[in-house]
């Protein structure tokens, strides 16, 4: 068994910054992460690219390269670090420490922590279009991960479809790396600039992000990649794998050849651990996803359990770092490791930075609104990939009397497969909300139960500290 002041889950911007900050206050820290090296998804394989593939830093860009210094700061912090480790249960007893069960190195280890910081970040919103289960259809983040981690890229013809900053960034990265893209199918609804304009004055506080966005838009425009606008009714077609993509663009039907189709409709908090430990969540209508309720200290409704970074609401990497810093300082103060006045000055500074970084969010939410069609889905399109449950079946469960996702799950097995609802949870909530004519908050979300990751028999049998 491992006893620690602060257990942090996730080694992205929020987790690394929190670990380094907490160490400066003298807390003992354990950071647990699924990846083999620190950086999270945004700085995935940063150490490897710096040491082994420095040429790739050129097209991955300066914001990616900036992760190297963060990883270095974290490595030097003296925090304990378990890479390639999976938290499969997190328990919140009424009194005393929190317990995490972690599969690491073939054994399940028990971690007892006075406080827990969940820095598990975001996941891409699942995009349930017809044909999205065909081999060759992936998320844009998946392709970007393969490019960062392995220098792998999809062969032509490659089509990107969706909306938002990551689509822009990846298209520009591919172009800079000489990777051909056949077409970008931009699903952003018409009038993005008009929608964004009212939010511009406040967003100017985050001018760095705005400039980066403008630079990316210009780079895509001058790249020569064909861009189809106002795309709707997207479909992936093919027998054994994707062969063609069909959609409407400005009302006209477009059909394009593709052996890889990459989808992206923004990112949403990864809800698994905050749901498992019973944190309260609220629906965010602008971003069409649930957020865990957080105090301004970053604490959830479960005392002693904090969230930092995109897992608490999407803000991007710089904001994640500041929420990580704030949470670490608040936790240090609560555990008596830092005295109030010195901690408060640091927190005020971090909050000021955070305000500037969050200032662009309303503009981005307005320009790139989340898809409005997911809650309207019906017919054969698969909602639950694991158990192959269609949108029609989910609507059928409503007719059979299912008031919420947990009853729909019992009726249909949707959400009962290996991904435990990660890929269908939001869609099922949206469809049920639409069918019942209720708000998603009234519909709720799947109950998440342990183990939240597959545990092998060996990992279960070998539980350390069980004696």
């Amino acid at each position: 068994m491992t006893r620690i002041d602060l257990a942090i889950i996730g080694a992205g911007p929020a987790g690394m910054e929190a670990a380094a900050t907490a160490r400066e206050t003298g807390l003992s820290v354990l950071l647990i992460d699924e990846q083999p090296e620190p950086g999270g998804q945004i700085w995935r394989a940063i150490e490897c690219n710096v040491s082994e593939r420095p040429d790739n830093l050129v097209f991955l860009g300066p914001d990616y390269a900036a992760g190297a210094a963060r990883a270095e700061r974290f490595r030097a912090s003296g925090a304990n670090y378990w890479p390639s480790a999976m938290v499969w249960h997190l328990d919140n007893p009424e009194t005393g420490d929190k317990t995490a069960l972690v599969a690491w190195d073939g054994v399940t280890r028990q971690v007892q922590a006075r406080s827990v910081l969940l820095a598990t970040g975001a996941m891409e919103r699942p995009v349930p279009i017809p044909g999205w289960t065909l081999p060759g259809v992936m998320s844009i983040g998946a392709a970007q991960t393969m490019l960062k981690s392995s220098g792998l890229y999809p062969e032509a013809p490659l089509v990107l479809a969706g909306s938002g900053p990551l689509l822009l960034l990846f298209a520009v990265q591919c172009h800079a790396a000489g990777i051909p893209i056949s077409a970008v199918l931009d699903t952003t609804p018409a009038g993005a600039m008009t929608r964004g304009l009212p939010h511009l004055p406040k967003a100017l506080l985050g001018w760095r992000t705005l400039l980066k966005g403008r630079r990316l838009m210009q780079a895509l425009a001058s790249s020569g990649i064909p861009v189809y606008r106002h795309v709707r009714n997207l479909e992936a077609l093919g027998a054994d794998s994707v062969e063609r993509v069909r959609c409407t663009s400005d009302g006209q039907t477009v059909e394009i050849e593709a052996t890889t189709l990459l989808l992206h409709e923004g990112v949403v908090p990864n809800p698994q651990l905050t749901r498992l430990i019973g944190c309260e969540h609220r629906w965010n209508a602008a971003q069409r996803c649930f957020h865990p309720m957080l105090s301004d200290r970053g604490e959830t409704s479960v005392p002693g359990v904090f969230v930092a970074g995109d897992g608490g609401g999407i803000g991007g990497a710089p904001a994640a770092e500041n929420t990580g810093r704030i949470a670490a300082l608040e936790i240090a103060e609560e555990l008596g490791a830092v005295n109030r006045p010195s901690g408060d000055i640091e927190i005020v500074k971090a909050r000021d930075n955070l305000r500037a970084q969050m200032a662009v969010r309303p503009l981005l939410d307005a320009m790139y609104p989340p898809p409005d069609w997911i809650g309207k889905l019906d017919g054969d399109v698969l909602v639950c990939r694991c158990e192959e449950v269609s949108a029609r079946a989910v609507r059928g469960a409503v007719a059979d009397g299912a008031p919420g996702p947990n009853q729909a799950k019992a009726f249909l097995r949707a959400g009962m497969g290996p991904c435990q609802g990660r890929m269908c949870g939001l869609t099922v909530t949206e469809i049920l909300a639409d069918a019942h004519g209720k708000e998603p908050d009234a519909i709720g979300y799947y109950r998440i139960r342990p183990p939240i990751k597959p545990v092998t028999v060996g990992e279960l049998a070998a539980l350390d500290g069980a004696d």
């Binding site: 999809p154 092998t456 028999v457």
Partner: protein, 106 residues
Amino acid sequence: MFRRLPDPRARAVHFTFDGEALTANSGDSVAAALLGAGIEHSRTTPKSGTARAPYCMMGVCFECLIEIDGVANRQGCLVEVRDGMAVRRQQGAPGLPEDLADEGGQ
């Protein structure tokens, strides 16, 4: 199909997929190694037997579930490929290991 950018410092890793010898680069996840070697689908679904391939590459979608060295249901995108690994396509729902099925009976 995937291709690789030039990587002069890469070290080759040799593994098998359903008995066939394949090569990857060190640092690849099993899921990336298979996509890089031209393996189009890495599992079939338990319900309809449809072919599936990795979707998210970050541990969320579970489409990359695969058998590695005799252990089923591993997340291929979260396991680093190693020399000598025996990887097998996961067909449908893998059964419980025999010893557990005998003991638990459920």
